[in-house]
């Protein structure tokens, strides 16, 4: 049996592929130490090469723009700017004036700037060194008349192996021939990795050198685990193939389901429209929420910005994060729940006292109304983000209309402060509350006069109504078997808010329970907000409802 070789690196994109590995063949340079002719000739050659290179880069930019999108295409816009960057060009000219040939001059200028970027000890900027090398090798290729590297005459698709792949090489890969690729170097934040991700090509970067003698061997590439196994044993191949088929089956089923459900409006057969929104914990989930058909964000948990820090985030930090989320949602509604800490979510720098009964203690709006500056800091950030799309504020743990009125007064103060600072915000920003205490449901008639929407947090509403902690295995049964009181409280709230012209959503775990969808439709719930993996299931279910 042949010996197997294992390599590990950082996986880019997902997926598993198997096939022969092929090393990228780069043509040997013919003229590398070309003797410098006179300076004027060398400078003229530089100018000509720059012009051709610029055309090639622009072509790549428009190709990438049409196949992948604007942010990927910007990589080549940067390349075009680097190509004309005065510092870079002056460095090349300086070397030519010092007596070097144009090719040697480009090589040494490339090295100077690549080294400079690498020395900055910043992952992002270091990764740009490969962009400098990419445009330099493009210039040299044009000057030496090399044909661009290609794997001619390959009939079978293969796994490409290279010491490094430049962004332009990546975007030029023939996707019908390439199963995936592996590079010895490279990092997940390189432009090459960004492109591979956008193209959906399984890839592995940073494996370290792979011996050329393995060229043409059969291999298994697992981008999820970040492994490449060359010449694997029979058993491993069988196991891999099984996993791969299972993965592809799920991926295919998901694809076809996505296609069938995605563009269906979530309308019941009786004509009741339900908005399908996503619950998210950070803006990194937005692209998957959108690709799963989210019509809005029903619950943006704002705690993540506080939990990941060692001290209070500043208004600007919060603003940036909210604004990014709002921009990504392109005008769709984004409901930001104000800080919901305390109880099971503790943050050291808040210095909250230890409580005997935290779930019934000092948490969420109760803390915010006491620590007004903390609350205002967040409200101002949310208000500023509202200038970039459609934002709604949602207050958690409300038990009385007074709490809402007090919050509204604080929001007004924030609005006035922003106005005097000439900062923009949506003056008609929507305000809603969570219905998660029995008190809120019982008082919903009064509360609905103060706000434009309700969102039911079923997890807390269940535990507060039944006096049973769902996390306690001794009483979870009580929670599971006593739906009726919860549904009645939701109905009371729904009727109250509808009478006052508002709308109501459900954003707790019950929203994703497909056995309850019909009941929610029956009491005219307007919105169901669930985490990303449940979006399509709920959408499909609503369209089947009466």
């Amino acid at each position: 049996m042949e010996r197997e070789f294992r390599f590990s690196g950082t996986g880019i994109s997902n997926g598993k592929v198997s096939g022969k590995i092929k090393f990228l063949r780069k043509q040997e340079r013919k003229e590398i130490k070309a003797i410098a002719k006179d300076k004027r000739t060398e400078l003229k050659r530089l100018q000509e090469a720059q012009a051709i290179a610029l055309d090639e880069i622009k072509a790549l930019e428009s190709k990438t723009l049409s196949t992948l999108g604007e942010s990927e295409a910007q990589i080549f816009k940067i390349h075009a700017m680097l190509l004309e960057d005065e510092d870079f060009v002056e460095a090349i000219i300086g070397e030519i004036n010092g007596g070097k040939s144009v090719i040697e001059a480009i090589e040494s200028a490339s090295k100077i700037y690549a080294d400079m970027l690498l020395s900055l000890e910043d992952e992002y900027l270091s990764a740009r060194a490969s962009d400098i090398r990419d445009i330099s090798s493009l210039l040299i290729r044009i000057l030496t008349g090399e044909v661009s590297e290609n794997q001619e005459n390959d009939k079978e698709p293969y796994i490409l192996v290279a010491s490094d792949l430049s962004p332009s090489e990546t975007v030029k890969l023939d996707e019908s021939k390439i199963l995936g690729f592996v590079t010895f170097g490279g990092t997940p934040s390189s432009h090459t990795a960004i492109l591979a991700r956008a193209m959906g090509i399984p890839a592995l970067v940073g494996t370290g050198a792979i011996d050329k003698s393995l060229d043409g061997s059969f291999a298994l590439l697992n981008a999820e685990k970040g492994t490449l196994v060359v010449s694997p044993g029979q058993k491993e191949v069988e196991k891999f193939e099984k996993e791969r088929q299972a993965y592809n089956k799920i991926a295919n089923e998901h694809e076809s389901y996505l296609r069938s459900v995605m563009n269906k409006p979530a309308v019941t057969r009786g004509g009741h429209k339900v908005m399908i929104y996503a619950n998210i914990g950070s803006d990194s989930e937005i692209s998957s929420a959108l690709s799963n058909g989210a019509e809005g964000i029903g619950l943006l948990r704002s705690e993540f910005l506080y939990l990941s820090k060692k001290e209070f985030p500043t208004e600007d930090e919060l603003f940036c994060a909210y604004r990014d989320a709002v921009i990504k949602m392109q005008g769709k509604r984004v409901i930001i729940r104000t800080l919901d800490i305390g109880a099971d979510k503790q943050i050291p720098y808040f210095n909250l006292p230890t409580e005997e009964n935290p779930a019934l203690g000092y948490r969420a709006i109760r803390i915010c109304l006491d620590r007004k500056e903390l609350f205002k800091n967040q409200l101002r950030a949310i208000l500023r983000a509202s200038a970039y799309g459609r934002v709604a504020i949602m207050l958690p743990m409300i038990v009385s209309a007074d709490e809402i009125r007090e919050s509204k007064a604080i929001i007004e103060e924030c609005k006035q402060e922003l106005s005097t600072q000439d900062k923009e915000f949506d003056s008609k920003i929507e305000l809603g509350i969570m219905i998660e205490t029995p008190a809120a449901a019982i008082m919903s008639e009064e509360l609905s006069k103060e706000v434009s929407f309700f969102s039911v947090g079923t997890n807390d509403l269940t535990q507060y109504t039944l006096a049973a902690d769902r996390q306690n295995p001794l009483v979870t049964k009580i929670c599971e078997e006593n739906l009726e009181p919860i549904m009645r409280l939701i109905k009371i709230s729904a009727d109250a808010i509808h009478q006052n012209g508002g709308w109501i959503g459900v954003c707790g775990e019950m929203a994703a329970d497909l056995s309850l969808t019909q009941r929610f439709v029956d009491i005219k719930i307007d919105e169901l907000s669930v985490s990303v993996p449940y979006l399509l299931g709920v959408r499909g279910k609503v369209s089947e409802c009466k």
């Binding site: 816009k77 700017m81 960057d85 700037y113 900055l120 910043d122 992002y124 740009r128 940036c320």
Partner: protein, 87 residues
Amino acid sequence: MVEFTHTIKAESGLHARPAGLISSAVRNTKSTVVIYYEAKNRCADGSRLLSIMSLGATCGTELRFEIEGEDENEAMIALKQICEANI
């Protein structure tokens, strides 16, 4: 001459794309722009991409923009907007 300071809030720092935006914007003005990273004693020509990138300005860095020219006030507004929205 006018000037303003900006503290970088983007997690990935002043990387290639925003540096490109700044340099393009500066080229569209009639002013000269010098960007100072005073804590590290570095400065950059605001019209030059590599120069800006070589500041190595990461998240939390305070940068001072010095703008001089006939349209310096408009230039400052444009640059402030780019900074606010991108870095």
